[in-house]
Symmetry: C2
Subunit: 596 residues, 2 copies
């Protein structure tokens, strides 16, 4: 056996800011060196950020990625860090002849091993995910090599992210090559309950590869994705040895006892059946043959896990914080109605940015009930956000002098004066980002007004069903008094209890209730999960116990609202299937589950 | 040699309306039978419509597709059409074991041969496009069979759409199998100058396959895609024999002299190297061995081609007509400013729907010049569309009593009162679809207001650069007096000359001109084509002759406007790269071509 100290650099790269990412590479490598690490592993496409979408189809971008990698290797050596091997993700190209069906420039989702100022070897992701939020056949050609480098007498193999998720390929080849350790840079976005899936997966692959696995994941919000970190290390039996924090940058250092490499395995190349219909070339390299001198290992760290609601809340806070900061905003604005959706959105914003950077507008109409204003004012008092009141009655009157509106058209008008006119006007005047306050139940059923309550730049709770909005609001109130990375230290519960318990209403006409148009949310949300997230058809939904008439009605509502969802702002993905990259349907669509 | 009369059913299927598509299958098969055809070929995924996106991931949808196919086969026979073989596209499934990386339910982009009430054989697309507007690795697993059926002594092979575009695969196998004819159902969307590419491609594949090719393409608008038809038949040397009309449903009937099948080639299966790294199984079948009795062929029809501008215009008209009709609208509404963008949009709408279904609103502000109103009124007079005037000054005043706005915020307010408040209000009240009037130059540079001029359900000219807007307006005016499928019979030029020649202005502040913020459009558009459509980086743009400072400025504008484009309505794709399915970039993105 041989010892190695591995550093997992669980970081948040900036999409497109290659210079900043290179600086971070240097800084974190120095931290790892200071901790005595023998190898540091960064995340997938760390130098470019992930995902970068069509940027990889630009020659200038791929050129910059490769140039940044080369400069980073030299710079690490120049700064005295050349002896510490670094595995880092970036974008490379395969230099294949162009042909129809190949992405332009044949980019690779690549990783390199840097050592002593040189790029010792390069590899690329073999399995390309093209489902859910991923479109990687659009962007990459598949890698077909597995580097195995000897480090202090241990053979270390490199695979990338999806290579763990699909059968065969690099994991299978790592076993055949007799690797003593498999290191895996990842950019795996958060969704509820994915952590457990990930741990089981990594454990299974470790057993298949017959060696420990070091799984390093990205952290941070990027448009509708939130990367949760949760990097981990398992032993060859799949037992958890170390685990980093969730939703925070974290340098996890772990000491491993690893099998010494076989003396028979010499530098060179050979080709192996990857058990997925392809062949993979193993490239053996040697950095250093001799084991490190025996040392006393540090006790491994296993960070505490957040529970389900805490995890969702952390994802939303990080998603908002990063969208705001990375897009150059310093403050947000939103309409506060007194209802629960805007109350929770304001609270997330306060936790993400601090209440001083949160601006709320109370925009009462003739239909607003008294408690709407008092509940909103109470939230303002508890959180200390900036507030102003802007009644809409006079503007409504001015519009109705020009055009005659009734019923739904008049209801929508009120929403649009609030969203498109007042909030967007204040946003333009003062530079605040408008937060949209709609939830997933509304977005699913089309219970929202385009350019009204749907207006804004980012929609923090768009992937939360209404029942989850309530659960999360109660959870957040129960944390009052706590203060951490994701919670501002409010002494009292930040959301007025009345906003949680009162019957939901859009208050766009007298005595309106959500239940005038929608079934009770407990029933609706269960049906929406089955229809929207699980793709069940009408018969399956009825077989699953949903009321047949309700199934027909809700399916019709969901299908007809597709055009509204297309113009909705992005927001953090929380569920297995969000409205956005995850669920893609035509607007022009006569398919009716209800008419078999 | 043997004779065959082939009918190409160039049709517009309804996405998701399987019953309507099955009815159309019957109706068009009867038309083909009445014309004496020996074989009728429909388009790719005709029974489901194309594209259907995530619908193929639902079991209920794929079940319905297969059931519809089976019922259609029986119904054709019941209606006395069973003797006429039919090739038709639909969605099937491969019944593979589920695993990560495979689309749920393993759907196939399939085609079937129907004869005498039975499904004689089924095949599926082998090459899956996953670039540009296509995401087919998300949806389908690849087919690995090539059916070759003997019809009246001729061996006929079936390939599907992308199988023609990529090297190797079915075309190569058709040659090896000695096919005497290759029939190809397609759903290939329009873009400028694609027709010539398509003809050359089909000719090349005919030479490779060593036999004539029958290319049947879909027609009709489907969200942002417009299918242009342009079905064609080439001989084994690649010479054009027959061609259907563009942008219209068309039954093209062609008589072919084809090589008689070899007596050695008997029913059965064998596997062939497809020259693309895969194997394909050839399945030989026999419907009928004896040639048809000699008959006098009809002279082949080669429909006239539209020239470039006529083609673009037809695509826009069809795109608008189909979006409106297929989404259940009967009328449209738009703001008419007196400028060229709204004038052209109104004209396209009049041509698509008839002026009686077009409603325009003139919404002057304190900054509107006199000619804006007179030019707009003049268009109304020439076209006979419905018009109303709704000044915005009083509404602006009412808003400014509540909140204090300056500069850009005040400009945006005017745009939002027009778009989100007045047009959307009238849309909700009267059921008109709002048409958005922005062009591609504006969309690229962010020279538009979210929820203002960007509000609406469909954006007819969003893929036209401003210079193209002018060219197309002049072209349309020159057609005055003509009347056809795409042109309403206006006696005088429908667009006032002054709207075309005047200097463009948004008129949101005194004496505003587009050139205050933007370079002249002749220069801007050339740069945008190179940056947006050709993915050139900064250095390439400068090397291509663009001014370095302008390159920096325009790139910054384009990159910063990504968030606006995400909330823009869909509109017909005309260029090789539209804003929509074709160009996908992160909003949160620090990549700057200008900072190398």
């Amino acid at each position: 056996m041989a010892q190695l100290r591995i550093a997992l650099a669980q970081t948040d790269p900036a999409v497109g800011d290659l210079a900043a990412n290179a600086d971070k590479l240097l800084k974190w490598t120095r931290r790892a060196a200071d901790r005595g690490a023998h190898l540091v592993v960064f995340t997938e496409m760390f130098l470019t950020g992930y995902p970068v979408e069509d940027l990889v189809l630009r020659r200038s971008f791929v050129d910059a990625s490769i140039a940044t990698l080369e400069a980073a290797a030299r710079r690490l050596a120049d700064e005295g860090l050349g002896e510490l091997p670094v595995v880092v993700g970036y974008v490379d190209r395969a230099n294949l002849e162009p042909r129809v069906g190949l992405p332009k420039g044949t980019p690779l989702d690549a990783a390199a091993l840097l050592h002593r100022g040189r790029i010792v070897t390069r590899t690329a992701k073999h399995h390309l995910p093209n489902y859910g939020v991923f479109d990687e056949y659009r962007y990459f050609v598949r890698g077909d090599r597995l580097p195995v480098f000897r480090l202090h007498g241990v053979d270390v193999a490199i695979a990338i992210c999806e290579d763990l998720w699909q059968e065969g390929g690099p994991v299978s080849v790592a076993a055949e090559a007799g690797a003593g350790l498999l290191v895996v840079p990842n950019a795996s976005p958060y969704e509820r309950e994915k952590n457990d899936v990930r741990l089981e997966l990594v454990a299974r692959r470790a057993r298949e590869a017959g060696c420990p696995v070091v799984y390093v994941n990205q952290v941070g919000g990027q448009d509708e994705l939130v990367f949760d970190g949760d990097s981990l290390v398992v032993d060859a039996q799949g037992r958890l040895l170390a685990r980093a924090g969730q939703f925070v940058e974290d340098l996890l250092v772990v000491d491993l006892e690893l099998p010494a490499a076989s003396a028979d395995a010499r530098p060179g190349r050979f080709t192996v059946d990857a058990k997925d219909g392809t062949m993979i070339t193993v490239e053996r390299l040697e950095l250093s043959a001799d084991p490190v001198a025996p040392y006393a290992p540090e006790p491994p760290r296993i960070a505490d896990r957040l529970d389900d609601l805490a995890e969702v809340y952390a994802a939303l806070v990080l998603g908002v914080r990063d969208y705001v900061a990375k897009n150059g905003f310093s403050s947000v604005i939103l309409g506060l109605s007194g209802g629960i959706d805007s109350a929770l959105t304001a609270t997330i914003a306060s936790d993400a940015l601090g209440p001083d950077r949160v601006h709320v507008v109370l925009m009462p109409s003739r239909y607003s009930s008294d408690h709407s204003l008092t509940d909103a004012h109470e939230l303002v008092r508890r959180q200390g956000v900036h507030a102003r009141v802007a009644p809409i009655a006079e503007i409504v009157n001015a519009v109705e002098k020009e055009i005659d509106l009734h019923g739904l058209a008049e209801e929508n008008l009120q929403a649009r004066i609030r969203g498109a006119v007042l909030l967007m006007g204040l946003s333009n005047e003062h530079g605040h980002l408008v937060l949209t306050t709609g939830n997933k139940s509304e977005l699913a059923t089309g219970y929202s007004t385009m350019y009204g309550d749907a207006a804004g730049g980012f929609a923090p709770i768009k992937d939360l069903f209404k029942t989850m909005v309530w659960d999360l609001s109660r959870w957040r109130n129960a944390q009052a008094g706590r203060e951490n990375e994701f919670l501002h230290g409010f002494a009292e519960p930040p959301i007025p209890e009345h906003s949680i318990i009162k019957e939901p209403s859009a208050e766009l006409r007298p005595d309106q209730r959500d239940t005038d148009s929608l079934p009770p949310y407990e029933i609706l949300d269960r049906l929406l999960i089955d229809y929207v997230e699980r793709d069940m058809g009408r018969d399956e939904l009825i077989a699953a116990g949903h009321d047949a008439e309700l199934v027909a009605r809700v399916i019709r509502m969901v299908d007809r609202a597709e055009y509204k969802r297309r113009q909705y702002p992005p927001g953090p993905k929380i569920t297995p299937k969000n409205f956005g990259r995850d669920r893609r349907l035509p607007i022009t669509n006569r398919w009716r589950e209800t008419a078999p």
